[in-house]
Every structure is written in C-alpha cells, then in structure tokens.
C-alpha cells in the first residue's frame, strides 16, 4: 500500500520499485556511501562488505528459487561451487577475461541447477527440496573423482586475478568495486525478474500450482526455471568468490554453507529481495562479531574459559536464527511491512 498522496499516473510508474521520494533519496545516499566506502572505512570493513556482496548475490538467487517460487533449495553452495570452478578453470586455463568468465560461470551453474530443476516435472514438495541435497553430494564426488586435470581434484585450482585494461583486481578495494558492480547488476536484475511475468509465474506456482497450471503456466518448467535462475545467481557469486579468494577447493562449498544461505533468507524474510539482503547483512554481521569480539572476550573473561565463549558464539548464531523463526517466522521484512502499513492507515484500525 502506498502512503497517501502517492499515486501513479502511468502503468510504467506503477511498477516502479522506488515509489517515494524518500526511498529514492535513501537509495542514492546508500549507493553514494557504497561507492565512497573504501575512502571512509577500514580495509577490514571493506573485506566484510566484499563477503556480504558475494553472499548477497547468492542469497538473492536463493530467494528467487525458494522465497518466490517456493522450492526449498539446499544445494545453493554446490551451485556456487560449480560457478566458482567454471570461472577458475576458464581463467586459469584459457586466460579468458572475467567479463566473460563471470557470466559463463553463472550459465554453467544454471545448467547444473536446471538438471535438478528438471526433476520437478515429476517430483514435488519436500521430495523435490530434498533432492537438492543430492546436488551437494554429487558435486563433491564429481570434483574429487573426475580426472584432476579437469577440476583440480583434491588439489583445488589457483585463479589468476581479474584484470581489465591493465588494472588487476587484487586487494580488497579494487575487488570491492568489482563485487559492487556485479552485485548491483544482479540485484537490479532480480527486481526485474520478480516483477516480470516470470516472477508472477513463480509466485503463482508457489501459492497454488494447480491454478497456475490452468492459467497456462507450465508448472514443471517454471520450477525448473526457478532452479535455473537461482543457480545462475549462485554461479555468478561463486565466480566472484573465486576471484576474491583466488583459490578454489571443494571444501569451500559444503552443505553447511547451503544451510547458512537458507538461514539468511529466513532471517530476512521469504519472498522479498530486500529481505534477502537484510538476511545476508544480519547473519554476516553476527559471524563477524563472533570472529572479532570472541578473542577479546575469551581473554578478558578468563573465568569463563575460551572454548566456552566460542561455543557460546555458535549458540548465539543458531539462537538468533531460531529466535527469528519463532518470533518472526515471516522474517524481518514482514514485520517492517506490518509496521509500515499500520503507520500508513493510522489512526484507523482497518
């Protein structure tokens, strides 16, 4: 619901993402701050932002697949891994520019994801969701057992830095701009997708796949598409990861990583792109706090003992996620929207 005084005068303006002047202003300020960030904050913060941007790309993809299309996906880290490996192999063996490897990484991950999505033609519900776990195991097995000249096997692959016109993307600042640019494109694209006929088809399939079919939506193809798009995002995120770390190994993409991506969209709220971003921010910030203040607490609160402090940190992380699910099962964005709508209709209770 729009605040009073805001109305659209054309269909095009009616489908805008940014609807009020304040939102526009906030967005501009936010982007400006992001662009200026390397000059404002320390390298540590930039490194955290790098991780957040990469996670954001992956979580937004998961949001499209799980939050919009309703397909629980526990293979997102495997899809990310496929992207990371594709980018690494292309960059290290063919010397292809990152301008090509990043989209190609997305495409190869998308194809892998699509394979699992194809099973949607027959498998439904939880059964479908749980088959994505198989993606995780098959990816792991394939990397380790294919000839190591293909995917590096247990050796992993070293990745040359991204390069553009003689500029090498090494060091957190230059990588930050690369990640920011890619993340901005991907997130803007996500808004485009979810507001297009595809986004509507996803929601339709999620809410009522019987009715969706009768509306002329190919339900199985739509689910497969959701996996395809979700995996594409994961692949792009994986490529960014490969260029950031510049070494990929199969143990960087485990089921546990997938679970954390799911946790991010739970905390942020299902079915909202902004929610995915909020979730990434919350989870990553908690992880960073654990890593940052943990050693200090362990040293200063000696009577507690170091390992208890750190174990406690894991509890905090799990606890925050559980709290969100108990108190706010629809995520932070849902609460925000309720607040917003009750503010806008105030003082009437309906």
């Amino acid at each position: 619901m729009d605040p009073s005084g805001i109305f659209s005068t054309s269909y095009r303006s009616d489908r805008r993402v940014v609807r009020t002047r304040w939102q526009a202003l906030a967005l501009v300020v936010f982007m400006a701050l992001m662009l200026a960030a390397p000059y404002l904050v320390s390298g540590r913060i930039i490194a955290i932002l790098n991780m957040m941007l990469i996670s954001a790309v992956i979580a937004v993809g998961l949001q499209i697949c799980t939050g919009y299309a309703g397909q629980i996906n526990l293979g997102q880290a495997a899809f990310m891994g496929v992207g990371a490996y594709t980018a690494s192999i292309l960059a290290s063996k063919t010397g292809l520019t990152f301008l090509l490897t990043i989209p190609l990484a997305g495409i190869s991950a998308a194809l892998f994801g699509f394979l699992f999505g194809l099973t949607a033609a027959r498998i439904k519900g939880f059964y479908l969701a749980l088959t994505t776990i198989a993606a995780q195991f098959i990816f792991h097995f394939a990397v380790l057992n294919l000839p190591s000249s293909w995917m590096g096997g247990s050796n992993g692959i070293t990745v040359p830095p991204a390069e553009l016109l003689g500029l090498r993307f090494v060091g957190e600042t230059s990588q930050f701009y690369l990640n920011l640019a890619v993340a901005a494109i991907m997130i803007a694209g996500a808004f485009g997708i979810v507001r297009s006929r595809f986004g509507r088809a996803f929601v339709a399939v999620r809410d009522d796949d019987v009715a969706a079919g009768i509306m002329g939506i190919n339900v199985a193809a739509t689910k497969a598409n959701a996996f395809l798009i979700g995996a594409f995002y994961a692949g792009v995120g994986g490529a960014l990861w490969a260029y950031l770390i510049r070494f990929v190994g199969v143990d960087q993409f485990t089921l546990f990583h997938s679970i954390f991506f799911v946790a991010m969209i739970i905390v942020g709220g299902m079915g909202s792109i902004v929610g995915a971003l909020v979730g990434v921010f919350v989870i990553r910030i908690i992880q960073e706090i654990i890593a940052t203040v943990g050693p200090n607490i362990a040293e200063s609160v000696s009577f507690l003992g170091g390992d208890i402090v750190f174990a406690g940190m894991n509890v905090v992380l799990g606890g925050v996620i559980a709290m969100f699910m108990i108190l706010e099962p629809k995520g932070l964005m849902h609460r925000w929207n309720i607040l917003k709508s009750s503010y806008r209709i105030w003082p009437f209770p309906y």
């Binding site: 991780m51 190994g249 654990i290």
Partner: protein, 412 residues
Amino acid sequence: MTYQTKRGLRGFLAAGAMAVAATMPLKAKAEEIYNLALLSDFSGPYADIMPILAGGREAVFTWWNETRGQDLGVTLNYKNYETRYDAAQVASLWPGIKSELDPIAVVGLGGPDVAALSERLPEDKIPMFMATAAYGFAWQPDAWIFNPRPTYSHESAGFLNWMREQRGGDEPFKVAILASEASPAYVDMAKGLELYAEEHPKEIDLVEVIYTEVQPTDLTGQMRRVVRAGAEALIIQTNTSIVVAAKRGLQANGANIPIMMSSHNGLPASGAALGGLEQLEGDFEAYGMAIAADEDTPARQFYETLVTEYGLEAPWNVVTAMGVSQGLYTVTVIQHAIEANGAEGLTGEKVREALFAQTITTEETHGFLPSLTFTPEAPFPLEGLKVNVGTVKNGKITIEATGVDIPEVKKW
C-alpha cells in the same frame, strides 16, 4: 581428545595472561616491536585441540621475548584471530589483520587459512608458518606458506620404509590405506602414497585403498579385505573416528595389523577415544616432529621449562608439541632475520629470505623438529627429512625410533 580439556583451558588462559603480563613491561626495554597474527579455531572443528595448541605456541613467544628478544632488542606481540576454520572468515579477516597489526609473519592453522591466503600473502609479502605436515596441492615453488614437516605422504613413506627394514626380507611391504573423501586433504594423503607405491613396487605393495566416511558406520567388512590381502600395516592419517572404527573392525576379525597414525589423530587421541591407550598396544604414530613420550628428551626438557618458568599449562602431548614446535621454528626464523638485518625495519619479506638463507637446526628448536633447510622449490624442506616413530608399549607411549630417513617422494 585425550587430555582433560579443562586443564588445557587453564593452560591456555594462563599462558595468555602471562603473555599479556610479560610483554607489557618489556615494551619499555625493547627497542623494536613486531607483530604476529595467530590464526585460531576456537569454535569450529578443531575447537577441541585449539586451547592447547594456542597455549603451546604462545608460551614459546613469551619465552623468546624474555630470553632472546631482550638481547636482540625486539619484542614479538601476537594476537589470536578466530577463523572458525572457514575460508570466507579468513578472507574477510585478513585485510583487518594487515591494517591492524601489519604482521611480519602469520602463524596459521589449517586448510582454510591456506586456501584463503595462498594468493594474498605473496601480494602482501607476508609469510605464513603452519604447524602441520604439508599437502601435495600446496607443493609449489616460491611459496609464502611454509610447513616444518613434509607432506603426509612423505611421513607415511618414511614410516613404511622403516617398517620394512624392521621386518627384513626382500619382498615388498604390504600396506593398506584408509582414506576419506570428506575432505580433499584426506584424498591428498592417499594420492601421494599411491604414487609413491606405484613408483617403488619393490618396496611397497599398496594392497588396499579404502574410502570411508569420517564417522564410519562399520568397517568390519573392509578390515576383512585388508586382512585377506595380507596387509602388514594400515595407514590412517585422516581422523580419530576412523582409527577407532578400523580398530574395532580389526578386533572383530581377530586381526592385529599395526595402524600408523599421524599427529592430529595420534596415539593419545585415538587411545582416549577407544577408551584406553592399552587398546593401541603395538600401533604407531609417525611424523616429522618430536614424539611426546615419557622419555627424557631435549624437547621434553624444554617443555618442562615452559611449564615451570613461562606459565604453560598444557599437558605433554602431541598437540602441545605441535604448538611449541610451530612457535619455535617461527621465532627462530625471525631471529635469523634479525641477526642478518638488524632489529630495525624487519619485514615479512626479510623473514622469508631468512628462512631460505639459513638452516634451522634441531638444536634451535630444542629437538622438537629435525634440522630444516628450506628452499624456494617447495613450501617444506626437501632435504634431510626425518620422521619420528612412537608406539604404545605396556600401555605407555614410547619412542620407537627417531630421525628415520624419509625417502624421496615424487610430486603428485
């Protein structure tokens, strides 16, 4: 693992407190202060050994500051960073470490540190020193990440040659290896030994390579195959749970094939997990580092010194030995760098140069490590490699052999 965690914990805390207390007044005396970044995992998979490992390495820094550092006019400060054993966390921490500490060296822990920093360290010109054995995948020239021990496959090859000599005879020594695909590092261990066996058919006959889960359901059938193949030794460098499951499998088959373990899943840890060291009677642990046995060795004496004078509270075991040896060769390299360049203006690059310039003698590491001669060809010494063998005799860990030569192992 084996030791009482609480004791280790107190040791760790005391060491930390001592370190803080000890470095404070020294700052006034010493002219130069350099920083070390310590990567730790207090909340991830290695949380159980971390307090002890950390206690060991920190005690060494305290000892060095008070003895050598004072003379040289240098104080080494250090700070622990929590990595949760996660490459993403290391990557996001690193720029902060660099700007906050500007360390001259990083004291690393494991795979994620290597993955996240292997391409960053050469750019930033800071070397990293690990405690563990090396991996085949890190075997590259011009390294910035170093291991005091060769690869796990080197260590097992050295052990097997020693076993073959003990046995006598000309026929190849039959051996089985138990690996897991749960981690690429475990696969790497198996791959190296596989290649070595292939290259040396007259010495080693690798009769079985068995892959299993990190917490196996049951290995009775697999162990029967090992027995039937006539294996004379079983190499398990993966983890404690697999050692326990394999032991139970062997017991079920009524077989007594000696198992060789590595440092991180060694005799004390596996013995405790089995419910008693006596169950591992006649089994071995082998690695290129001092064995933490009851015997009175230089290493043991140095450990006692750390305990009595520098507040180390960790028990005498392999994990402590790992921490102490990591600390010792790190400070020795730095000391070499100071001796060569003077106390002022020390950089990571100079520390790395010093590593190649001078052998780290076994005396300098108080017998914790053999003499280490690093070259730019590999991240670990390629020459003069030794492995030590420990075993359980009468329910006690004893040193079976020290300074066993490691044969040449080809890169895989």
